[in-house]
Amino acid sequence: MALLVCGLGCSAESSNGDAPAADGTFSSGLLKVSTVYVAEPVTDERAAMYFTISNVGDRGDELVAVRTAAAGRVEIHQNVEEDGRMMMEAVSGVRVPSRWTIHFAPGSYHVMLLELQDSLRTGDSIYASLQFESGDMVSVVAEVRPYADLEELLASEDDEGDS
C-alpha cells in the first residue's frame, strides 16, 4: 500500500507539499484537510476517522477513497435517519463543492477503518491519504484520541462564540 511521502520528520518548514502546516492542516493544491483524528477504538476491530475538508478552489471535487496501511479495508460512511433509527451506510464518495467545507463528525460522515492491522491507542498517529476525483491526493497524519475528546476536538471554528 502506498504510504505518504512525508514521514514523521515532516515539519512546518518542510518544502514538501504534503507537509502539515503548523496548525495541523494538510493540503494539496486547493484542497485543505484539517482536524484529522481517529477515535481510539474500543474494540481492536474497527475505528472511525474524522476530518474537515475545505475546497478553496473554483471547481468542485469529490473525495472518492481514503487509503491507509493501518486498516485492511476502508469505507466512507454516512449516517442516515430512517423511521427514527440511525443507520450507517457506505457511500461511494463525498462531494466537496467549490469554496465549501465538509465536516466529518460523529452522526454524520465518517471514515471506517476496518480490519485494523494494529491496536490503536491514544497518542498514536496513523498516516492516510485522501484521494479525490480530480486526481488530487492529500496526505494526512491522524492522531488517535479518545471518544470523549472528540466533541471538543471536532468543534469547528465557526461554532465558537455561538451558544
Binding site: H77, L150, A155, D159
Partner: protein
C-alpha cells in the same frame, strides 16, 4: 403540568456540519412528537431549563428481565427503582454513535459529585445479541465507565422492550460478503427520574456540557 405541555428543542451539536444534521433530525423529531401530542415550549416554561427533549407524556418503565454481563438476570424495574436511569439501545460494533454517547456520559459522570454519581444508573441494552457476547459488552462498557450496566437478550424481546418504551425497534442491515453487518437503532438516550418515569429524551449530539447541566437537575427533580 409543565411536563405535559413542554417540548424543548435545544439543538446540541459537535460542529457546523453536524449541527445542520441535528437540526434536520430535530425537525423530524419535532414533527413526530407534535403528531404524538407534543407542543412547543413557551419560552418562560421552567422545563426549558433542560437541554434534553422534555416529553409531553412521561413514559413509564417497562417490566423486563435481561441477562447482565455476569450472566445474571437483571430485573430492570427492581434494580433501577428510584434512580435516574439513562437507557440506551445500541451495539458494540457501532463505531460512531454508540461510543460517543457512552463516552460523553462516562466523562461527565467521572467529574460529577458523588451525590449525582450515586443516583445515576446507565443501562446499555445490545441490539446485536448475535455478536455482542457478555464479555464483549463488558469490555466495551468498561472503556467508558465500569459501573455501566450491560444487558443482553434475544432480539425479538429487546425490540418489544424498545417499542414499549416508545423507541423504534432495531433493524439488522444487509449481511455483507465477509459476514459483517450493521444495525439500525434509535440514537436517543431515554432518561428516567426517581419517579420511575422517563421525562426526557437525549438526541445524538448531546454534548458533555449538556449532560453536565442536566444530570444534577435530573437527580434533584421531583416534578412538582
Amino acid at each position: 403540568m409543565r411536563a405535559s405541555d413542554t417540548f424543548h428543542a435545544r439543538a446540541p451539536r459537535l460542529s457546523a456540519r453536524s449541527r445542520s444534521v441535528f437540526n434536520e433530525s430535530n425537525l423530524i423529531l419535532v414533527s413526530l412528537l407534535l403528531a404524538a401530542g407534543c407542543s412547543r415550549a413557551p419560552a418562560t416554561d421552567p422545563g426549558a431549563e433542560y437541554r434534553g427533549f422534555l416529553l409531553v407524556e412521561a413514559r413509564p418503565k417497562v417490566d423486563f428481565v435481561l441477562m447482565d454481563t455476569e450472566g445474571q438476570p437483571f430485573d430492570f424495574r427492581e434494580r433501577t427503582d428510584g434512580y435516574v436511569t439513562l437507557v440506551f439501545f445500541g451495539y458494540t460494533y457501532c463505531p460512531d454513535i454508540c461510543p460517543v454517547h457512552m463516552a460523553n456520559i462516562g466523562a461527565v459522570l467521572k467529574e460529577a459529585s458523588p451525590d449525582v454519581r450515586g443516583r445515576v444508573k446507565v443501562v446499555f441494552v445490545t441490539t446485536d445479541p448475535e455478536r455482542d457476547t457478555p464479555e464483549q459488552i463488558r469490555t466495551w462498557l468498561d472503556n467508558f465507565d465500569p459501573s455501566f450496566i450491560g444487558l443482553r437478550g434475544d432480539m425479538e424481546k429487546v425490540n418489544e422492550i424498545q417499542v414499549a418504551l416508545g423507541l423504534p425497534p432495531a433493524v439488522k442491515g444487509e449481511v455483507e460478503e465477509d459476514g459483517s453487518y450493521l444495525v439500525g437503532h434509535s440514537a436517543y438516550v431515554l432518561a428516567f427520574t426517581s419517579d420511575n418515569l422517563a421525562h426526557l429524551l437525549y438526541a445524538f449530539g448531546t454534548r458533555q456540557v449538556d449532560w453536565a447541566s442536566d444530570l444534577p437537575k435530573l437527580v434533584a427533580e421531583n416534578w412538582e
